[in-house]
Symmetry: C4
C-alpha cells in the first residue's frame, strides 16, 4: 500500500540508532535531516521504513474543488473526566485542524461549557453523568472515532467503553485510558474493529503487551500483538515507531519539546481527523505522526523546547501541511543531478 521512496535496510545494529536504550549513545540528530549515512538508503530487503518528507508527500490526498463538509467526515472524540476535560479540548481541536469536516466530543456533563468555549467549531454531546463517562450514546454515524483522552477508568466508564467497542464497525484510535482498559480486559481486543490504531506511550504499551527485557523484545512483542489482533501500534517516543504486523515505520520528525502535557491528545485528534477524511488507517497513523512531529519542529523555532505546549502543535499544523510541498535544497540538488546525469 505504501510506496516508499526511502526504504532502509537496517542490519540489526543500525536499527539501534532509533531505539531509546541504544540510541542514547548516538549523537543528537538534526530534526529535519536525521543524518543517516547515505549508504543506508541503498537497500535490499526492508526491515523498517523511515518516514521522511518525500514519502510523507505521497501520503497527502489533495482536496478536490467540489468537496464539502461531508467529504471530510465527522469525527467523534470520546473521553474526558472531571479535571481532565482539557485533553478533549485538545483532541477535538486537533481533529478539526487536521482537516476533519465536523467534530463532536462526547464528554461528561462537567465539560460542556469548557469544550464549547475553548473550541466553538466543535459540537459537544454530554453523558448523563457529571464527572465521568457512564453511558456512551451517540446520535449520528461518525466517520472516525478517537477514544481515551482524559477518560479515566471508573467502573461505569469501563463497562460502557467495552460495550461501545463491540458495537463499532470502523477502525478507531485507541489512546490513553482506553489502552489501559483494554490491557486490563484483554478479551475485549477481539471486539475492536480491525486495523484500529493504538497510540501507547511505553508504559501503556507495557500494560498492553507485557514487560520486555530490551527494546528489541519490545518491538517483537508489539509486532506479535499487532499480528495476532490485526491492529496498528504507534509506539510514541523520540523516534515514534508505527507497527503493523511485521512492518515498521520510523518517524523522522519531532523533538524533545514535544514531551509535554497534551501532546498525545493532539496526536489522537490528528489521526482521527485523517481517518475521517478517508485516509487508510496505516497511512493515517504514520502520516499523523509525521505531521505532529513536523508541527512540533516548526513550533520549536519560535518557542524552543521548554516553552512549547500542546496547543502550539495544533497552531502549527497548517504550516506542517504547507511545508510538505516546500522543496528542500537537497531535493532540488537531487533532481538537478538526475537531470544532468
Amino acid at each position: 500500500m505504501i510506496q516508499a521512496n526511502h526504504t532502509l535496510t537496517f542490519q540489526t545494529p543500525k536499527l539501534s540508532f532509533f531505539l531509546p536504550e541504544t540510541g542514547i549513545f548516538v549523537p543528537y540528530f538534526e530534526a529535519l535531516d536525521i543524518g543517516l549515512d547515505p549508504e543506508y538508503l541503498i537497500t535490499a530487503k526492508p526491515l523498517a521504513q523511515l518516514i521522511m518528507k518525500p514519502l510523507a508527500q505521497t501520503f497527502y490526498k489533495q482536496r478536490k474543488k467540489y468537496s464539502y463538509k461531508g467529504t471530510f467526515g465527522h469525527s467523534l472524540l470520546v473521553g474526558g473526566s472531571i479535571g481532565k476535560i482539557g485533553a478533549m479540548v485538545l483532541a477535538s481541536r486537533a481533529a478539526l485542524s487536521a482537516g476533519s469536516g465536523l467534530a463532536t466530543a462526547f464528554i461528561p456533563e462537567c465539560g460542556n461549557t469548557i469544550l464549547q468555549t475553548a473550541i466553538p467549531e466543535a459540537m459537544a454531546l454530554t453523558d448523563v453523568n457529571d464527572d465521568f463517562i457512564s453511558e456512551i450514546a451517540i446520535n449520528f454515524e461518525p466517520s472516525a472515532i478517537g477514544i481515551g483522552p482524559g477518560m479515566g477508568q471508573e467502573k461505569q466508564t469501563v463497562k460502557t467503553f467495552l460495550e461501545f467497542l463491540s458495537q463499532s464497525k470502523r477502525p478507531m484510535v485507541i489512546d490513553a485510558d482506553a489502552i489501559n482498559i483494554i490491557a486490563a480486559n484483554p478479551s475485549a481486543v477481539k471486539d475492536i474493529p480491525k486495523r484500529s490504531v493504538f497510540t501507547p506511550h511505553p508504559v501503556e504499551l507495557g500494560r498492553l503487551v507485557g514487560e520486555w527485557k530490551n527494546d528489541y523484545e519490545k518491538l517483537k512483542k508489539a509486532k506479535a500483538f499487532s499480528k495476532d489482533n490485526e491492529m496498528i501500534i504507534v509506539i510514541k517516543g523520540a523516534n515514534t515507531i508505527t507497527i503493523f504486523q511485521d512492518e515498521m515505520y520510523i518517524n523522522s520528525t519531532g523533538n524533545p519539546g514535544m514531551a509535554t502535557a497534551g501532546s498525545g491528545d493532539v496526536l489522537t485528534g490528528i489521526i482521527t481527523g485523517l481517518l475521517s477524511q478517508g485516509y487508510e488507517p496505516l497511512i493515517a497513523a504514520t502520516f499523523g505522526v509525521y505531521l505532529h512531529g513536523s508541527a512540533g519542529n516548526i513550533a520549536s523555532q519560535v518557542k524552543g523546547f521548554e516553552a512549547l505546549i500542546a496547543n502550539d502543535l495544533i497552531e502549527n499544523l497548517g504550516k506542517a501541511y504547507l511545508e510538505l510541498f516546500i522543496q528542500d535544497e537537497s531535493q532540488i540538488q537531487d533532481e538537478e543531478e538526475k537531470n544532468n546525469g
Copy 2:
C-alpha cells in the same frame, strides 16, 4: 441595482464550469484568478454574473467620519442548543467582525457563559429554557436578524420560530435548522419578510425546493422558489451561487479548506452584519459570500486547506476588506493600457 463591471454570458455549456456535477471535469482553478478565457468576459445578454474583485469593490460602502455605533446597526442572532452553542459564538463574532455596530445573541440559558467568555463584545439574551430555544423574547429593535445556527428543531423551538417569523418586518438571514423548519412547514414562507436571504447547503436546499435530477434542474427549482416567494437563495458550495428570481451571481472566491465545521455559521454572521449596516439584501448576500471566500483564501496562505478552521475566516475578514482595494497587477496593466490606448 447592481452595476456589474464584469458580466458574463454563459452559453449553457459554460455555466457547467461552475456546477458540481460538470465542473468536476474542469481542471482546478486558481483561487484569485479563476482562469476564464477572456472571451467569456465579452458579453451580450447576461445569464449570470461572476462576482470578482472589481465588482465587489463597487459593493463596498465607505464609512463616514461622523458615524457612530448606531450607524452600523444592531444585529440579532438567534440560535444555539445544548452542545451547539459554538455556532452562535461564531455567528455573533462574525457579525461584529463584518462591521455590525452591536450584536446580541439570543440563545438558550446553557450558552450564557460560553458566549460571553468567547466573545465579550457581544451581548447575550437567554431563553427561559436551559437547553433549547422555546420562546423568543427580544427587548430591542434589531437592524438585522440572522437565525438558525445550531438551533435544533425541538417542538417548542419550531413553534416560537414560526411565530417570530410572522412578527418580523425586515429581511433576515435564514440558515441551517431555520431552513429545515421552513422546509417542513412550507406555508410559513409567506410570513418571512420579502428579500430575506436563505443560505442552504445542497442537502438543505433539497429539503426546501424538492429533489432535482441534475444541477440545471436544481438551479431552476431554486429560481422558481426565489421568484414565487421573493427570497434570495445562497446555494453554498465550491462556487457559491446566489439566486434572486431569474438572476444568478456566481462567486469567484473560496477554496475547499472552507468545507469545515462552522464555516456556514460565519457566513450567516457576515451577511447579517452587512444587512445591519444598511446593505441591501442582495448585495449583503453576494458581497458577504465574496468576503467570506476571500477571507478563506487569505487564511489558506498560512493555514493550508486542512488546518483552516472557521474562526480563521473571522480573523481574516479585516484583510479581506483591505484586499478589496489593493490593485492586482492585471488591473494596473489594464489601466495603463487604457491610458496609452
Copy 3:
C-alpha cells in the same frame, strides 16, 4: 496644568470642522494628520486645544525603575449584568493594559467564571445577586474607580450605586448606565467626587444636560454642566471633545472603525487605568482618549474599519504607547529647520 505645544484659536466657523452637524461637509481627514491649514496653528487666545502627538508626549509619565505593582495602583471596575458581562471583561482588561498595577471587577455572580476565564490577570468580586448589582461591597481601597459598563438600571442597582457615590472620595470614571442613572437622579451629582470623568455618547449626554438645538448649544450645555459641578465631560464621537469648565480639548486620533460594540467600555478601562497610575483626571481623560484613538488607528492598518472589534483596541494599546515616541517625518523636519534657522 496642561502645557500645550499646539494651541488653536478657532474663530467660530472653524470649530465647525470638528462638529458632527457641520463637519460632515468637510472632506475626510487622514487619521494621523488631520489636515489643518498651518495658519490655524498660529494662535492668539485659545478656544480649544487640539491633542496631537507632541502634546500627548508631554502627558506621558515615565515609569521609574524602582516601582512595583502598588506604584501603579489598584483599579476597581463596577458594572455588568446578566448578558452584559463582556463589557466588564473589556473594561478590566483595558485598565490593566493601560498600566494599572492591579484590577478588580465588581460584578454580579453570573459573571464570575466569564471574567476570570477571559482575563485571568484581573480579580473578581461578586455581588450577592446573580443577575445584577444589588449591593456594592468592596474590601480594599481602590486607587481609581470606573463604573457603569453593562451595569443596567435595576431598582436595587440604582440604589446601591447612589449610596456608593456618596461614600466615594476620589475622582472616578462614570460611563454608560451610570450616566443614565445620574441623568435620572440629577441631585446625585453633588455626591460625585469633583473632577470625575463622564464619558457619554451623544444620547447619554442629552439625558445628562438636556436637549440641544445644534452642536454649539451642545457644547455650551456641556460646559455649563462641567462648570456647575466641577466635572470633566468626554463627549465621544468622531472628534471626541473633552470639556472641563471653559476648556475644550479636541482629539486628533481615531477612525470610524471604532464605532463598534465595547469601544466605550475599553475607553472607560483606559481612563480608569491612567487615574490609578496617578495621572490627574483631566490628563487621564484627554490622554486616554488619545491613546484609545491611536490604538484604533494602528489596529485599522491590519483590520480595516469594519472588522475592527473592541478587543483589537486593547491589543494595540502597547503599540499606541510606543508610537508616542516615534518621531514622524514632519517633526524631524521641524527640528532640523529650527536648528538651521
Copy 4:
C-alpha cells in the same frame, strides 16, 4: 554549585546601585547591559553575583533526545480562591511553558471550569469546598510544588496548608498568601522542606523577617532567615535579589512594565516548572528570575511597559530561552579578542 563567569565584589557603596532606597539616584540602566564599569567585574572576594547572560547560559540543562513527558516532571500548583482563580491559571500555564512535563492545579471547586477552559494542557484537582481550599488531597506524587497564588487565608486553608507542609518532602515554591501564613505561624517554618524557595515582594518579606530600617538591614535579615532555616529567598523588585545563606544573586533582566498583576504568579509557575525538570532549587530560583525578566524585556519591545500584562511574560518565555543562545555583539568581540590575544 554555581560556576559564575561574572562574579562581582561590591564594595559596600556599589551594592547600593541595586537597592531601591539608594539605586533611585542612579541613572536608569539598559535592560540587557546594566552598564557597570568593567572595573567591577575584576573581583576578589564575591559579595554578590550578578546573573547576566553568560552565567544564565551555564544554568540551562539541554533536553536529551530520548526524554519523555515524565522526564520533565509533574508540577503541582496549589492555590486560588473565589475571585482569584486567575492567579492559578497564570501559574499553571507558566509551569508548563517553563518546561514542566505535566501540571496539575489544586483549586477550589469554583475554579474548575475557569482553569480548564483557559489552559487545557493542565489538569485540575478540586477541593471539596467551592470557594477556598479546605483540604488538600493529592492523588499523585508531584515532582515539584508551587503553593500560594490567590490562595487566601481562610481558617481552614491555613490549617490544611500547615498540615500539607509537614507531609511534604521536596523543596517547594512558597508564594503570596503561603508566605503570609508562614509569617503568621513562624513555628511552621521547620516543617518546610529545606532549600524551598520563598518569593516575597517587600511587604511579604517584612511580615516574614520583621521590619527593617534600610535596605542593608533588609538583606541582613533575609540572610539570617535563609541561614537559620536553610531556605532560599527571592526578594522581588527592580533588581530581584536571590538569597541563600550568605550568598546573594542579583538579577540583571526585567523592567518596570513587569510591575503588573499576576507577574508574581508567573514567576512562581516558572520556578516550579524548573524544579520539576530537576533543576536544583537555587538554580531554579535564580534562573527562573532571569528568564522571567528576560521574557519581560522581550515582551516590552512590542507592548511597552504600561500595556504589558502577565500573560505576555508566558507568551515570551520561549523567546527568552532561545535568546540565551544568541550571541550578543559584545560576546563575539570578547571571543575575537581572546583568539587574537
